[in-house]
Amino acid sequence: MPDTETSVHTQAPVDAADVVSVELKTDKPRSLWGDAWRDLRRNPIFYISAVLILFLVVISLWPSLLTSTSPYACDITKSKQGPAAGHPFGFNTQGCDVYARTVYGARASVVVGVCTTLLAAVFGCLMGGLAGFFGGWWDSILSRVGDIFFGIPILLGGIVFLSVIKGGSIFTVVLLMAILGWPQIARIARGSVITAKQQDYVQAARALGASTSRMLLRHITPNALAPVIVVATIALGTYVSLEATLSFLGVGLKPPTVSWGIDISTAATDVRNAPHMLLYPAGALSITVLAFIMLGDAVRDALDPKLR
């Protein structure tokens, strides 16, 4: 990292409000985000994962772009048959087109992954941020509450809770995974807020009489957000994988929702005589998880200067 050290934060304390204007006056101000974005644009992994994710988002919005076959149009006489003209992936046990079901299955995975991550990240940041910023009693209580939810592995809690409420909608699965997943984000957010709070420029802002909300919004949040974004992106991949696992176990999404987890679960019994029914949805699922985890990796490499 050449000449980034000239950032205003290392200079003598200036008036908090001036920080922005000073940054604008220098020729090429390089913030952590600017640096990270430059790094990202040089990373081929970022492009591969971004293209894959864009593709997944597009087909989950408009699955009919890729297939004109309905995932519910099944012909039982074609049960378990291999690939045929117009049906490149063959047919499943009920004689439905595996290709159409693989394409339509993207929606559930993407929606569950994105919604769970957003929910868990917003709530986790709020709780972790409050605990880290105010410390003391706030910290003790919020951290213990987080520990309680952290004490239940998501898979275990998901199995118990979803089987009891007999859920099966995308909403219940998202809600449950977010309820059990937020402490992970909160722990990271708390740690990075505590680190940011102790930085000299935050102390300077406080000494100059900046209000709590100003310190939080202008100084702490932008500097504490990076680790949270990294963890959240990687968590997105694991949430997609978890949804499929829960659906596979029969407690997550339920038919008629088209989900890769359900399809893999029904195909598993026939893996010896009709492996194509399992391999295509399993492949699609793995590529989706891979794309999000690669994106998380690329973002981490860009945002974590220690690894440079």
Binding site: R144, V145, D147, I148, F149, G151, I152, P153, L155, L156, G157, I159, V160, F161, S163, V164, I165, G237, S241, A244, T245, F248, L249, V251, I264, A268, V271, R272, P275, L278, A282, L285, S286, I287, V289, L290, I293, M294, D297, K306, L307
Partner: protein, 307 residues
């Protein structure tokens, strides 16, 4: 150190109560155990009321919870709805799951650490890239997919390992399920080790150790490893609970009659005492492992103790 241990133990108490209460509420307050006992049939109201009374289901929830916890501390996890004491089910199931978890844990530890240390020491080289790609793939493919694929190719097609595990579990049968269960954690361990090793390799104390003429082996094993393994130990501890939870999936694929199997049967039959009992034990294992890690952490890193 003593004060630290006491503080951690005291912090555990509310977490233990909160977690077990949460599970208890999930199963008993939201679900209806009586309706579940009768399945699709509608129970006779008088019978239902009698069962409800005999199981203390009319008491307020906190009182049911207290009775349940009092039982647990006396080794009584209640009776499953078909009459078998839950403790008996646990006695049959836990040895199998513990064996499976230990096999997986050993694989995770040996393979994960080796890959991580090698990759970390040779950061940016071919080996490092290879390990990164391998771990990325392993993390991305969900366990149940790896499970079925390996079972099909190694167990059925090639016949190198047993595709399913018999009732009296033997260690060699657990090798394949162990690999499947260990997979994702193994990848996390090697990535974590790699990052930590690569980071510490550039630190001042390593430079000092090398400069004062220590042989490289000693620098790596004593100076570098001891400092780099602290975050790995944390992960390994929290992962024990994760492995036991993940066993639900692995046991289903390889037909192992362990905790996951019992839990799954309990859920299918809505057998609340079984479910609550097993999940409570798993959560306690998870919490105990976390506590152990925190204590170990304090032994390894004196900075934590005095903070």
């Amino acid at each position: 150190m003593g004060r630290y241990v006491i503080r951690r133990l005291l912090q555990m108490v509310p977490v233990f109560i909160g977690t077990t209460f949460l599970i208890f509420v999930m199963v008993y307050a939201i679900g209806d155990p009586i309706a579940a006992m009768f399945g699709d049939r509608t129970p006779d109201p008088a019978t239902a009321a009698a069962i409800r009374e005999s199981l203390h289901l009319n008491d307020p929830l906190w009182s049911q919870y207290l009775q349940y916890m009092a039982g647990i501390f006396q080794g009584d996890f209640g009776t499953s709805f078909n009459g078998t004491p839950v403790v008996e089910l646990m006695g049959n199931a836990f040895p199998n799951t513990i064996q499976l978890t230990l096999v997986a844990f050993a694989i995770e530890l040996v393979v994960g650490l080796t890959l991580g240390v090698i990759a970390g020491l040779r950061r940016g080289r071919l080996v490092d890239t290879g390990v990164l790609i391998f771990t990325l793939l392993v993390i991305s493919i969900p366990t149940f997919v790896t499970g079925y694929v390996l079972q099909y190719f190694i167990g059925v097609k090639l016949g190198w390992a047993a595709p399913a595990v018999s009732i009296d579990v033997t260690l060699d049968q657990l090798l394949l399920p162990g690999i499947v269960l260990a997979g994702v954690s193994l990848a996390y361990v090697s990535r974590l080790t790699r990052t930590s090793i690569a980071e510490n390799l550039r630190s001042d104390y390593i430079r000092t150790a090398t400069a004062k003429g220590l042989p490289r082996r000693r620098v790596v094993t004593v100076h570098l490893m001891r400092n780099s393994l602290i975050p790995v130990v944390t992960f390994l501890g929290t992962d024990i609970g994760g492995l036991m939870a993940g066993a639900v999936v692995t046991e289903r694929i390889f037909n192992i009659q362990g905790v996951g199997y019992q839990l799954y049967q309990g859920i299918l039959r809505q057998n609340s005492p079984t479910v609550v009992g097993f999940v409570t034990i798993l959560v306690v294992v998870f919490l105990a492992a976390n506590l152990l890690v925190d204590l170990l952490y304090a032994v390894l890193d004196p900075r934590i103790r005095y903070a």
